[in-house]
Assembly symmetry: C3
Homo-oligomer: 187 residues x 3
């Protein structure tokens, strides 16, 4: 078989096509490269539960105090949390695999929504595994997506989406969240 | 035409060149893949404007109160916002397409600068479109760039830069910002 | 030399291999594309040091005041900082190259850990260079990694990891941090 100029053109075309295909498929690959499901448990300090409270109101609208969530959808309340993370959803007392730490801010005047800035710090004796989150938590919606903006250790440079779901709650001050973390950029 | 070894070498060379070119152009592509211009309107609660205030001071330096921004460039004031977003700049009362929610912190002792951590939550009946922002807002500079660190829904995994510009203000407690969002990573 | 079908197959195979190799090496390239070492200096306001304090407590647990860090590992204290950044570690009074601004939140009940949300704003007469950080700072550990989630100007769209190390401290209210910033995504 002879190999003519047209074949070279064909080869070059195929080459560009494959480069384009690989880059395009990367750019729009909506399939997670890593997946985690965890639970975290939040009990807001109410002035009486210091022994087992895991979070506390640190800022409140004028005139309000820090042991009860403010009226009007808790608008203007800022809370700091130090919540145990568990692998199963049985209860708060199953062994903790880490802590969810950071803040949440009730920031809506006409419904329950929080701005979240927090991290997961996972137990690891060798190095520090953390996952950093930021995003909107409209509590009245069944599943809420927030951004995973970075991580360290096992989650070095990772990015993704975390889906929050309220798994259980007692009153407004004791709740458990199911967090499904899907990483789309894994390094 | 005969096809010799030198031609194979040439082909391989062209191949590597094209791969290199495509990857390099991606890495330094400073051309946005998506572009949005929106406005948001912030009216700080001053003790008298509860009916139309959209934000409020929730933390202040010792001795200061929460109905007036502190002296010394508002250093140490923390505010929570729930600001309507509009498509045009006419006024606060044009139809809102969403909310800008989160916090801003006046963090400079010798000029007006804020650290911003907030999100845009856009109206959408089908799913939740959010854009997450973080960055420095030196208010006295005409245009200020902040980071777009993630998003959900239509803005799934997006990253980019948002340029803030004060579009109008009355006093220090009522202002409108023009936000030009340029996404450079679109998925 | 004749150029048969098998050679074409070989060429195509090599082509795919090289594309795969380049993409893979990008994805797992743990070698920084840019590297910076800076220091920042934090002096918490204690009611008496207004002249040289660079940060202040703006929120505290119920009953606590804002001129002394709270007991129980400062849990629930929120501080705002406006800290000078220097190139060397000699002292606070060497020329500043910028400011570290944002907030830190003591968020652990049984050790010293802070959630950090802050930025470096670097001096530049032409445009605004900023680097945005978010992450966990477990103060009792020698080196702590946090996420670099974005930047502007010279650090446009950059991502990476910053390693914090306490370089010196006097009491709990005056400390200097060494920050080694490694960018892995440079644009």
């Amino acid at each position: 078989m002879k190999f003519g100029t047209s074949n070279i053109v064909l080869l070059l075309f195929l080459m560009f096509l494959s480069v384009f295909f690989v880059l395009t498929s990367k750019k729009f690959k909506h399939k997670p490269c890593k997946h985690l499901i965890l639970y975290f448990h939040d009990i807001i300090y109410n002035g009486k539960n210091a022994a087992n409270a895991t979070s506390a109101i640190v800022a409140a609208p004028e005139g309000a105090n820090q042991t009860i969530l403010a009226g009007q959808f808790h608008f203007k309340n800022v809370a700091v949390c130090d919540d145990p993370i568990t692998l199963d959803n049985n209860n708060l007392h199953s062994p903790s695999v880490g802590k969810a730490q950071g803040l949440y801010i009730y920031n809506t005047q006409n419904t329950y929504t929080a701005w979240l800035g927090f991290m997961f710090v996972l137990n690891n004796t060798d190095y520090q595994d953390t996952i950093n989150f930021i995003g909107a938590d409209p509590l009245m919606i069944k599943t809420r997506d927030i951004s995973v903006v970075g991580g360290t250790g096992d989650f070095f440079m990772h990015r993704g989406i975390a889906t929050l779901m309220t798994d259980a709650f007692e009153g407004k001050v004791n709740f458990r969240l199911n967090v499904a973390i899907k990483f789309y950029e894994c390094w």
